[in-house]
Subunit: 242 residues, 4 copies
């Protein structure tokens, strides 16, 4: 019988105090879908840990660095969801830092000789009061894919308010006035969060059943043992199909 | 026995004459890997077709529009690879146009009531003489993912010359001088093109074996029939795991 | 006495019929500010012209190409404003095409031996019903800057609706229901459109008064005649100031 | 007589030890051009300071935060140049952090009632061993422009090696082999660094001579006192010019 899947949610809010993060609220809704469907789910607030700067696996003792604790959770999880607010239309500094630190491990190998993150799936949750969700999703999902994660369809969900300053996700008041549209009832956000959550589970199960990604041709050091690009004539077009 | 997989490569070069496209040369190398491994592969040059502008499925008779012919091939293919050059650090106008036209169909459904492109996998091939490959990959892969494609790990491959004007992929001379580094021998490009090609096949096979993506929770109109975001308490954190 | 400034607005909507473009409505508000302040303003709908694909100045006779007519207006204008809708979080295909065609001229020189577009200022107007304004602004403003335009502060303005499908800028009804927030009264959009318009004029006047950008060190072929990077010691830090 | 201009270069390398930063080497070449032309130039390594996370001006005492010292230098400088390496195709975490902290001040006003950074000019220096320079430039220059900086033409310079892992800017050996192309002799990089440096000076002087940006219409609270977007008819096209 298959082991239970594990999912890790990392909140990359720039707020030191995670209880004030709006992004966490939307992350929680996705996390609970997974939990109710039998996935073991953990959610951490990145800034609860000391994370050093640098393209290294472990920055101790140069800096006080708790990254290896986070990395151990990432390694254990089948599903990774990055949560990020939007600042100036792009992902938060903490999200950038988290991805850099993960990147330092991306040259390691899994049991099949593939890059470490192969066989895992990734997604992203975003909140902001205005604009930039797709830009953040592009950036985060590409980084995960580049490091070895499989990206199921539509694994980004976001909430944004109308153009201009305004309430954040989950706010009950803004500038002293009660808020009637704080995102909780937004059909579009709820639908996308649901689809994201299910597609992460569907792909994680499919990969688990398949014992990860097949290993031909995607081993960074043995790719020449398989049909490979170097041996192909760049002038030759494929035959086509009818 | 499983049907043979089909792959479509669409070259979005801005050169009217596809035989002058450098991007095609790298696309061919990937296409042949698939072909040799038993995939039916077709490669088309987008500008060989008249493609109208507009967020519509069929722009005839307003404009002379052959897009529906391309869409039929996209619908038939299990694997889609977009080829694009880089101009000003971003994807070409033709790639943008191709994606817009695909997007007009993205609200249609497949047999399982999921969005049309669910169950297919996508990748991207890029060439340029300088910079912008990751920016193009981010943009194209996100668009495919947003429309329903599954994105396997590392399904972008690129060749770029050194900073500044210089030879393009496959050039044998530049400004009258013979070229010694035209990309054909670039280990990094060849390795990435190989990994991309295999990961596209591995995921397409896995999805075929699974009869596409499981259908719980990802149907755009029936998501409320499953555990969904609207019903979850945004204040509740997941239990965690040990 | 200074000549009157000229401004060109190019609408890169993907709608063939410019009268149906929502982006045009917001462009008009900015254009009228300039007109009322004494600038000569012209607004064109790109798709009213046949524009060929390719990195060439003039694509006739290979393709039927009216781009040179548009280029003549660009060359005459002191201020250029690109209007673009958002599709899939990025700028429209028509905006990409317009910028590619401008780029083919970017190696030409002005009277001072600088690149052609030096001494001009650029901005961008964006509408969409959801997300991506900053991503489009980044892309368009960078392209203009890269080709030689000066970018004043805050020269992007946008309107976006709440997350999810909804009314476009200026719509009076959506799915049969009257619309109460169509952007016309959005303080944020109106303020930004105003700031954009004035900063474009202020910088264009400043550049006109200065007779364009001073010419030391920015001539693509004579840069070695001035203090230049090649002659500097990369190991040497600047002295600092107190 | 005009005061001497001041320029601040902030290196956002993720290396704790600034003496190991390759980006610094290219920054130095630009900095020296300015210094030799009479500008007072200071260069700092961001990670020499403790910088807290959060959208706040001063994060003491919650976190140990030296940001206000950096902000004082930014406020004093007429020219700001951000230096950033590239990781995963985007700007470094430290650059993201620096921009977030600057952003917390961006709602303040200068003497003319304009946003704080009005009247200043910005640029960016980038190094990496492969790809992403334009993506980083887009992101950084847009952020500066959005906060109030004027962006002169072509104020980004970069060095990148050929596709794939390889030597960084200024390296004399790579994997034990001597390096013959480390960027120091790259004409393209040297030319762009030169053009950037001069355009920053030309625009800073022009703005100084003009006593900053003229103040009509760009004051965030008084924009309605001038010809403004709210009062314009969105249906009315500009008259055009002949």
């Amino acid at each position: 019988m298959a082991n239970k899947l594990k999912a890790l949610y990392i909140n990359c809010s720039i707020k030191k105090d995670g209880t004030k993060s709006h992004t966490q609220l939307l992350m929680n809704r996705s996390a609970q879908i997974l939990e109710k469907e039998g996935v073991l789910v953990k959610s951490i607030h990145a800034l609860d840990y000391k994370i050093g700067f640098g393209m290294e696996k472990d920055l101790n003792p140069e800096q006080e660095d708790q990254w290896p604790e986070i990395q151990a959770m990432i390694d254990e999880a089948d599903i990774l969801v990055i949560g990020s607010p939007i600042w100036l239309g792009v992902k938060a500094s903490v999200a950038t830092l988290v991805i850099e630190r993960m990147y330092a491990y991306s040259g390691d190998y899994n049991d099949k000789g593939q890059y470490l993150y192969y066989g895992k799936v990734g997604g992203v949750v975003i909140t902001g009061n205005e604009d930039g969700a797709k830009a953040v999703a592009m950036d985060v999902l590409y980084a995960l894919s580049h490091m070895g994660y499989t990206i199921p369809p539509q694994v980004d969900c976001a909430w944004l308010g109308e153009a201009g300053p305004g309430p954040s996700y989950g706010d009950t008041e803004f500038k002293g006035e009660p808020v009637d549209r704080n995102g909780y009832d937004n059909n579009f956000t709820n639908r996308n969060a649901t689809i994201m959550s299910w597609n992460l589970m569907h792909h994680a199960k499919m990969l688990q059943k398949n014992n990860g990604i097949d290993s031909e041709g995607n081993n960074a050091s043995k790719w020449r043992n398989f049909t490979n690009a170097e041996d192909q004539d760049p002038q030759k077009l494929p035959k086509g199909w009818k």
